[in-house]
Amino acid sequence: MATSAHQRRVIQVFRYDPTRGGDGHYDRFEMDVAHPNSTTMLDILIRIQREQDPSVAFRYACRVNMCGSCGMVINGREGLACKTNVCDLPPDRDITLRPLNHFPVVKDLVVDMTPFFKKYEDAMPFFSPRTIEPEPAVIPPDARERQDIGLATECIQCGCCVSSCSMVNYHDGYAGPAALNRAFTLLADSREGRNAERLRAVLQSCYNCRTEFNCTEVCPKELSPTRAIKYIQRLALKHLGELSRPAGMTNATEEPAPPVAVVPFEPVLQHAGCVAGACSVAAAGGLPDDPSRRQFFRRVIMGIGAASALGVGGLLATAAVGPTLTKTPGRWIPISPMDDLAPAQVSTVTMRYEVTSGFHKETVVKPVMICRRADVNNMVVFNTTCTHLGCTVRWDAGKNIYVCACHGGQFDHEGRVIAGPPPRPLDTYRFKVENGCLMVEVV
């Protein structure tokens, strides 16, 4: 914590004049803060309004973190003006005060919260009891549901979380963290009667969350909408069967919903129909947005996607299909001078050559077996690759057979199978003799 000593601070306040329009700008104010430890941003704003510029607009009511009206972006992070003290902000930097994101700006720091409450409403934030009891329900403090819900009911609808969540920007239909947190408190409540409907209403939204935890970080009530969203996702997983059934699904807590609960119900479908900017939330008083910016991002992202897909696809295709398309002509590889190959004997010689396959270049090193008969011109060059599963076959001079060690394949001196699993005789190479040197043809 910084000291409580007197500080001189520069405060940059976002200004937007609704009669003039435009983009908005920052106004610079400077003031002495005598007690940084106990001076809030709200105090600062009130002082600016009284002492320097009476036209600065901002919203507040309770001044004690209870009403949620003073949410704004303070030094790049959402918070309540009445909860953020001067000493919480680094003394070497200007303080910036800016309206919440994702809400239309009415004037200066005042935003239009209509989209927030519209989405809140869509998430069915009200309690509608499963049964009407004369006595209050008893939920013991250590009950599982009580523990699960915890303090999540303490939300003051300040909108900080919605402002911090960049997904609200990218998904028109996204209910946002506050509404989902509210839905969670009811979904986890065993007294609640319309949870089937509620789960359907909010589930689509839950998949817009990218687990960024921004909402959790900024919530002035230290709630975790992220946790709430995860809870709803798991709940949906548990009730997958019922959810995939079109209607008349049983309650999330396993009892049939009372008949009063049958209300036409569409939001999920509505959101699903919300394709690329064609959504009508803006028209319905929801999120206005800047279509050109959005479109730009969408194009960039689609561009990157398409380029990556093309790139990888192209490379893979060339690597996989390329070699089979180009019929490589046979190449003649010199093996050994004829003089080195004893007649009436099988000699094994290692041959080496390079192959190019797709982008690969590799050197093949492979033995071949040259079987020379007593008659000098009668000769066979065997491929050492076993015709069963490709192990290397070798010549067993004692038994006069070719053997494969892997599964006991045996071939006679002509290469015919005499034992084991190989399905066909040994392969042979085409060969020729040039200037006294034996050459074989490889493909």
């Binding site: 790049g76 992070r77 960024e212 995860k230 996702q233």
Partner: protein, 113 residues
């Protein structure tokens, strides 16, 4: 009284728009998300390189690192999604899994080379 005034709401500010302090105030969870996306694109790119330039240790090393980095962040989300780790440990999870990632890169790399 009612004289006509034309009032226009400013379209909603977007995340980080006109906000000089946003970047330094971005929480680590958000960075984790951003970097996982960036690493995804990097994987696609390096995969291409890996196929084109076979057996280049630098490319292989980068690919290994980026894949493990990406996997480790994915693992974090899985752990959180299924409540295998309480969400309140999300930051510790990033640090812990990053260490795990470095160890894995080291083991796999020394194992190969």
């Amino acid at each position: 009284m009612a004289h006509e005034v034309n009032l226009h709401y400013r379209p909603a500010l977007q995340w980080g728009e006109l906000d000089p302090n946003r970047r330094q105030s971005t929480p680590v969870g958000m960075w984790a998300w951003i970097w996982q996306r960036i690493s995804a694109i990097a994987i696609v790119f390096l995969l291409g390189l890996h196929i084109t330039l076979t057996y280049k240790p630098l490319v292989q090393f980068l690919l290994l690192t980026v894949v493990i980095f990406h996997a480790v962040l994915g693992l974090r989300v899985i752990l959180l999604d299924f409540n295998l780790v309480n969400v309140k440990y999300q930051k510790a999870l990033i640090a812990g899994l990053a260490v795990l990632g470095v160890v894995m890169v080291a083991i796999i790399w020394t194992g190969i080379y």
